[in-house]
Symmetry: C2
Subunit: 301 residues, 2 copies
């Protein structure tokens, strides 16, 4: 599981920082999460093949989280994209995008699907054989969802010694990894457990931005491998966090601790701060495994 | 008159080039012309004070000319702008911007005025004591206007020798510059022409992007000091220019020559070309005073 931070600063794009967007690579799929202005240029900087992005998840309709989406959709169109593109986001996003495409007299040559969200409960928004994606309802000034990405059906690992001892042909390996038993030429049935080790645990990534401190998300994100939790403010501006419905570093760390996640990645820093290391210092008074997002940073989990 | 090119490439923003946006400083006013994605970051790079931009002119509703506008308007809001902002552009632009501001639950603290255009004839869209701005109807795939910016009421220049000889007090200088006659203490009336030289000619800047080759714009832009004319393609791709309703370098130069402008600035280059110098070479087979726009370039006229 690989996380690339394309942008992780609050409010306005600047020469040195970008608004929220990140790319999650999980089970060989690439999910784009939020799409602030300039995201397509950040994708180019990271040499991401546009065609690998088939699903975009938008948390909420504040500009620093989605103003880059219409440009990305248009660029995909200009580059003669063929693959379907799925956009998940709050109700209203479809009208905003289509109004602009209509005004430009342009229509995508690829299929563009919108999955508009309005539920206040967590719901599954995407699922295939490998990954399940659920919303994490957040508390912000407008309707907002985080997203929980979770691997599923992780395959069992081959016990090569046992397999070779029984002279099982390689063409059966995929069946074994998927949990199947094997019948030998003499009719003996070998149980899958004798040929495999248990799979790696299914990894999960919880993206939570933007939000007020809210313990009601804990049951959804509990035990995640990685939690990205916004930390717009330091403790000295805790009053602003409450007023603007954002979180502080300490609040993000408190959620991480109470949800028993393995790693906390912090971001969505207010641009008022010159040095983001202080976010880590404050968070680590509560929770140890803190990583700081920064534009261009990549994390492997 | 100073022209700053914030972006001058067609279609999609890239790491090394920006879509169309430029800043015209004329008679101490700053006009923003077009506003592709990333324009606000380009403005920051050039250290332009956001508060000096009070009027934005949008040529047409293709993304590479206006997808940066909603973000700019939002940033102005976040920075607690006070000054009014006027946006001139095709009918439809107001709905696009307001739909997005509404979705974000945000409203500008400053007055935001839209001047929506739908006339197919050239019309005056802004005028004050110093500048007049007229549309230049262009032929493109969607409704498009260029804009002609023209200085007005340029003041006469003082003939200091004549003035001092007559012992005229400095408090009359403004009146003289504005064209007024002076009555001396003995009742003699001195005609303005005896105290002044003719004013500098009124400078003008014609912005024409995007457009098919179209001679019908010539009467509007005739004798301009500077013509910015799009040249998306080189002669080798003339067939694409016609198909996509853009112009070639030679077509831009032909318009410049027939309109008898003093300088031609070319831009809106297709990103397929590695070397823009060839645009100049091709154009100069028709017209001499060719300047190449490029992102970050500044021209004083």
């Amino acid at each position: 599981m690989k996380l690339t931070i394309l942008g992780c600063y609050a409010a306005t794009p600047r020469t040195i920082t970008n608004p929220t967007s990140q790319l999650l690579e999980i089970k060989n799929q690439m999910f784009l999460i939020d799409c602030g202005e300039g995201t397509q240029v950040q994708l180019r900087k990271h040499k991401i093949k546009f065609d690998r992005i088939n699903r975009v998840f938008i948390s909420h309709l504040h500009g620093d989280h989605f103003y880059g989406l219409v440009g990305l959709i248009s660029t995909f169109m200009l580059l003669n994209r063929v693959n379907d593109l799925h956009v998940y986001g709050p109700k209203g996003i479809k009208e905003i995008i289509l109004l602009q495409l209509r005004a430009s007299g342009s229509f995508t040559g690829y299929n563009l699907y919108f999955h508009e969200l309005e539920s206040k409960e967590s719901e599954v928004v995407f699922e295939d054989d490998n990954v399940i994606v659920k919303t994490i309802p957040l508390k912000h000034r407008v309707y907002t969802n985080g997203y929980l990405f979770k691997e599923k059906n992780t395959q069992r690992k081959l016990d090569i010694v046992a397999i070779e001892e029984l002279n099982i042909d390689k063409c059966y390996y995929q069946k074994i990894k998927s949990g199947g038993n094997i019948t030998l030429d003499d009719g003996t049935i070998i149980a899958n457990e004798e040929l495999t080790f248990p799979p790696n645990p299914e990894k999960s990534y919880a993206f939570c931005s933007d939000t007020l401190y809210d313990e009601s998300i804990i049951p959804i994100i509990e035990n995640s491998d990685v939690l990205y939790h916004e930390s717009t403010f330091l403790e000295s501006e805790a009053h602003l966090a409450e007023k603007t419905m954002h979180s502080t570093a300490i609040q993000a760390a408190t959620i991480a601790k109470k949800a028993n996640v393995k790693n906390l990645v912090m971001g969505h820093y207010s641009t008022r701060y010159g040095n983001i290391e202080i976010f880590k210092e404050e968070a680590q008074t509560i929770f140890d495994n803190v990583l700081l997002a920064d534009d261009g940073r990549e994390f492997e989990f």
